[in-house]
Each structure stands twice: as C-alpha cells, then as structure tokens.
C-alpha cells in the first residue's frame, strides 16, 4: 500500500491519499477526539500526538496539526493509516447516513430537500446555495432525520451561521422530515468548479465575458 501526501496552502494541514476509497459519499470532519468515536480510523489518527483535527473525503484524509513538525508527524500518521487499512477495520463503525442504501422514498425526499434549499441564497453572490455548489451532500434516515453537509464560499464568512440556519430551516420544512441537521465542512474547499452550468453562465464564468 502506497500513501501519497500533498501539502496544502495552509502549513498546518496536509492531505494524505491512500489510493483507495475512504468514504463512499461526501466528507466528514472531526474537530476533536470526542467527535471521532464513530470512526475507528479517525480515532486511531487522533492517537498520534499533535493531531488537532481531521477530515475524511471520498479518497483522501486531511490532517490539521496543532503542534510539532510534519517531519516527525508524517511517519506516525502514515503508520496509523497503513495499520488501519491493512487491518480491514471499517472507516466508520456505524453506517454513515451517506452510505445507507437509498430507497425510492428517501431519494424523493432528498430531491425535495434539494429543491427547498434552492430558496436559500448566498447573500454576497445573490444566487441559490444549491446551484452555487455549496451543498455537498443531503441524506435522510429512516426516522426522517435530514442531514445536509454544506460549505460556504469562504471560511469565516460572517454569513456562515445564517446560511446554515437557513438551510436547516428549509430542509426541516419538507413534508416527511422530522428534524434537520446541518454539518459545515471546508474539506474540500469550495471553488467555482462546483457551480451548476446555469450559475456559471450567470456569473460569466468560463465565457470570457467581461462587463
């Protein structure tokens, strides 16, 4: 097994590419050890001293360090990842909402929630958050709990709280949904590549048009 590493623009972060699937759908962030109980992989990585937070994506793991040098941290992290993947242990100890089989009814609810989220606009860009590509994943479990994984165009944006509250509100307003939760993630970081074609056309992206 060969694990590649990539530096990021943030010196405190490094991305690891294990060359195999990490999460079947979406991304999950773990801001501390307490949040990592549902993931044996995350828990193992938090055992490495100096890990502040981590994120799991479809084919990557991003580690945020709180202290120490990558030179010392990297071998320990690579060892922990190897150990995990070679042991055959699951990445998540419970089935993630994202990984649950999608029934027809669930698929319909997800579609209705996505439509409802189109009523929430990013105030700065003046366009709905779905077509801007800010919604990373929508899932509904059998109890009617909707989980929306989303991002914002820029970390630290003062609109963040309002956007996630608005998304939660809209998702919960869909018939058949008992409760809605919104998870914010910045892994991967949003970019204009995630916009729908309509949104790109609206902003003149890729058309070379200048006004």
């Amino acid at each position: 097994m060969f694990i590649q590493t990539e530096v990021t623009s943030d010196p405190a972060r490094m991305t690891f590419l294990p060359g195999r699937e990490v999460l079947p759908h979406g991304t999950l962030t773990f801001d501390d050890r307490a949040a990592a109980t549902r993931s044996p992989l995350a828990a193992r990585l938090f055992d490495v001293r100096g890990v502040a937070a981590l994120a799991l994506g479809p084919d990557y793991i991003t580690i945020t360090k709180e202290s120490g040098d990558w030179q010392h941290l990297k071998p320990a992290l690579l060892g922990a990842m190897m150990e995990h993947f070679l042991s055959g242990a699951p990445v998540l100890s419970e089935p993630a909402h994202a990984a649950a089989p999608v029934s027809e009814a669930t698929g319909k609810l997800v579609e209705e929630i996505t439509q409802a989220l189109r009523h929430v606009i990013d105030p700065e860009l003046g366009y709905n958050i779905v077509d801007l590509g800010l919604i990373y994943h929508v899932d509904v479990d059998t109890d009617g709990l909707a989980t929306v994984t989303m991002t914002t165009t820029s970390p630290g944006c003062p609109a963040t709280g309002y956007l996630s509250d608005g998304a939660r509100e809209r998702a919960a307003s869909v018939e058949g949904i008992t409760r809605a939760e919104v998870t914010l993630t910045y892994e991967p970081r949003w970019s204009t590549d995630l916009m729908s074609d309509g949104a790109k056309a609206h902003f003149g992206i890729g058309t070379g048009r200048r006004r």
Binding site: S9, D10, P11, A12, H119, V120, I121, P123, E124, G126, T153, S154, P155, G156, C157, P158, A159, T160, G161, Y162, L163, S164, D165, G166, A167, R168, E169, R170, L184, T192, F203, G204, I205, T207, G208, R209, R210, R211
Partner: protein, 452 residues
C-alpha cells in the same frame, strides 16, 4: 467558525469616520491649513489629524473589528471593548485638535491639552489593539493577510508612541536627550509609521482577502505575496525603527529613509503585480462597483510611488511632500476605504436585517440594497477631484486646490448619502423590504443575532 458574527460597533466607527472625513474636506475647501497655511502650521496639523485619526484610523479600526475574525475564522475577542475605545478615541481627537488650536493661539494655552489628548488616544488605541491582538493570538500560525494586520497593529502602537512623544515635547518638555532628539526630527517617522506601517499595511492585508472574496479570485499566499510582506515589513522597520535609533544616537536619518524607501518601492511593485493577477485570475467576470472603483485607488498608490521616486531623484521631495501625502491619504487610502465601505455597509446591513429570515422567507440580495449606477458618478467625481487637487498642490495653486477639495466634499457627501440609503433599505423594493422575520437595522450600530 460559526462564532464569526456581526461586530456590534463597526457601524458606529464608520459613521464617526465619515463625519471626520467630511469635516476634513470642508476645512480644506475653506482654505484652512495647507496649502493656505505652512505644512507644519498648527492649522495643518488639525486637518491632518482629523483625516488620519478621525477618518482613516477609525475606519480601519471599525473594519478590523469585523474582518480580522473573517481573516482567521475565529470570533472577535470582545464585542464590547470597541465602544469604550471609540469614546476614548473621539475624546482624544477632540483634545488633540484643541491642543493644536492652543499652539495656533486660537485657544488659551492653559491648561495644555496635548498631553491629555495623548493619554486619551493612547488609551483608546490600546483597547482596540488589545482586542484585536487577543483575537489574533490563538490563531497562530496566522494566514498571510492576518500577518499584515498584526504588523500594522505594531506600527499603530509605534505611531501613537511617537505622537505622545511630540505632545509631551511641545508642552511639558522631555528630560531625556535622545528622546528630545527623536521628538525634534522624528516627524517623517511618525508619518511613515502611520500612513505606511499602520494604514497601508492593514489595507494591503485586508485587500488580499476581500478582493479574492468579492471577485471569486484565488487567495494569494505564494512566494510573491510573502515577499510583499517581508520587504514591506523590513522597509518600514528600517525606516521607522532604524530612524528612531539613528536620531537617538545623533546619527543621520537619511540612510534609514533611503534604505526603507527602496524596500518599500520593491514591496509596492510586487503588491501591484499581485493585484493585477487577482483581477486577471478572477472567476467573477462581472465585478461590482466596489471592485471597479478600487482600481482607481490602486492606480493612486502606484502614482504615489512613482511620484515619490521622481521627487527623490529630482531632490524636490521636501518641497512637494504635501502633495505626496495628500495623494496617499485621499487617492489610495480614502479611495479604497470608500469603495470597500460601499460594499461592506450593504453586506453587513443585509446580514443584520435579512440574515435571521434566510430560508424562512424570500429575501432581497445584497445587490438590491444599492444602486450602483447612481453611486458610480460620485466615485468618478471623487477620484477626478483627488487627481485635480494633487496637481493643484504640485503646482502650488491654492484656489484650484480648494475648488477640487470642494468637489471631493460634494462627492463624499453623496457617497455617504448612498451608504445611509443602503442602511435605511431605501432602495429595496417595498414588497420585499421587510418580510416577516427581518428587522430594520439601527443606523449607527449593529445588533448581532445569536444562532439558535
């Protein structure tokens, strides 16, 4: 990250700052201070400090209370401290102006007010610095834009310290010979520390992030941007700290000024290349008025750098320094400040008013709070007036300068009116102005909503 919210007193800082800008422009139009009076006359000091402290510093402090948390994705240490800081700064500015009027003979010289002003201003800036430093400290290692701000805060402290030194030297006297030497010849260092170290460095840092955000451009943290930071910081440190050391040791000031200027010009050239890259690499082809009008401010900064180099080469810097400082203060810093205020006021007003209703009812867009076509005229008039005033100063034509200053006043008044209209939601169509759940914002302060 979710804790980043509205800064409660930023609007109050902006309102006070705009009032000071208008006051400064009215004074220039009326022929008060330079060029009608000598550059170092107390009347000129009144105008300079109304603009430097009342307008530019209050504007920057207000903006930093809102945007330092954005730069580092952490909440402001205290949303309460900015209020006492503002009160102290306004009281200090009032005392400072009165102190200058005492020097001019307009007011009775007793009791001397400059030391009182120094203490009040130092107290106000210390509170602001403490709040921002406590916000920045836990976010280390800082992202590049925040590093510019951190160094800018250091130079704010340096500027205030030098100002205190001058005020005591002019009134109660100084017992120390080295301090007296710094107070006697340190005015250029005070100006460079204030306009360059504090205001320009902070503006550069914030501009990297805001331009990227508003134009959907890539965030720059590469080698060239880091070189801007290091050469800019080194140039300012050499000029200001090296200059203070030279003066206190009775050595010549010129080596520090020349060395610092060379590094400063290198930093500005690199920064210019970064700004051109940001505009070219932007994904948002259709940019808003604030980003369009900021281009003129960057052009003014480039023109100021070219003018400084030309004047130094021609050996005419000391006779034309007034025009150079004017171009930096009004073309670059005020131009960028007004352009970004136009966006920020509408954005913060939107968040305060419609943020809580988002997802519940249809809301207008930030763009619906403003009428860019109308404001564009006033921005263009403003920049045209600044260019004319700079030329008038270079040609020592007092009447032309006053006429241009009058046009600046008119343009600023109109832009301020546009900002008040945005705050009052006047340009939002009546059907969607105040939907259920939205609340009309207060003109002079923000009321942050806690997340449920």
């Amino acid at each position: 990250m979710l804790g980043v919210t509205l800064s409660r007193w930023t609007m109050s800082y902006f309102a006070a700052a705009l009032a000071a800008l208008l006051a400064g422009e009215v004074l220039m139009t009326a022929g008060y201070g330079f060029p009608s009076a000598p550059l170092r006359a107390p009347e000129t000091l009144v105008v300079v400090h109304v603009v430097a402290i009342g307008w530019l510093s209050l504007l920057m402090c207000g903006a930093l209370f809102q945007f330092v948390p954005v730069l580092i994705a952490r909440p402001l240490h205290s949303n309460t401290l900015p209020l006492p800081a503002l009160v102290l700064l306004l009281a200090g500015l009032g005392a400072l102006l009165a102190g200058f009027l005492q020097l001019a003979g307009t007011l009775d010289p007793a009791p001397p007010l400059l030391p009182v002003a120094a203490m009040l201003l130092a107290g106000g800036f210390a509170l602001a610095l403490y709040d921002l430093a406590r916000t920045l400290w836990p976010a280390q290692p800082l992202p590049l834009p925040a590093r510019f701000v951190a160094v800018a805060l250091f130079f704010l402290a340096t500027t205030v310290t030098l100002g205190m030194l001058f005020s005591f030297a002019l009134t109660t006297g100084l017992g120390s010979r080295p301090l007296l030497a710094v107070a006697g010849a340190g005015l250029p260092l005070h100006v460079v520390a204030g306009l360059g170290g504090w205001l320009t460095l902070a503006a550069i840092g914030v501009s990297y992030r805001l331009l990227a955000m508003f134009m959907l451009a890539p965030e720059l943290e590469g080698t060239r941007s880091r070189a801007v930071f290091w050469t800019g910081t080194a140039g300012l440190a050499l000029t200001v700290l090296g200059g203070v050391a030279a003066l206190s040791l009775d050595a010549a000031l010129a080596p520090a000024l020349i060395g610092g200027s060379v590094l400063g010009v290198v930093a500005l050239v690199l920064y210019g290349a970064d700004i051109v890259h940001l505009y070219r690499a932007r994904k948002r082809r259709i940019i808003e008025l604030n980003s369009q009008m900021a281009v003129f401010a960057f052009a003014a900064l480039a023109a100021a750098a070219a003018l400084a180099v030309t004047l130094i080469v021609l050996g005419r810097l000391s006779e034309q320094v007034g025009a150079l400082v004017f171009l930096i203060a009004f073309g670059w810093l005020t131009g960028l400040g007004l352009a970004k205020l136009y966006k920020i006021v509408a954005f913060l007003t939107w968040l305060e008013c419609y943020g809580p209703a988002l997802g519940r009812v249809a809301t207008p867009r930030v763009q619906d709070l403003v009428v860019e076509a109308r404001a564009r005229t006033w921005f263009l008039l403003y920049y045209l007036a600044v260019a004319s005033a700079t030329v008038a100063l270079l040609m020592a034509h007092v009447l032309a300068f006053r006429l241009a200053a009058g046009a600046m006043t008119l343009a600023t008044l109109a832009i301020a009116a546009e900002l008040i209209r945005a705050r009052r939601l006047v340009d939002v169509s009546a059907e969607i102005r105040l939907p259920a759940g939205a609340q009309r914002p207060h003109l002079l302060m923000s009321v942050p909503h806690p997340s449920p």
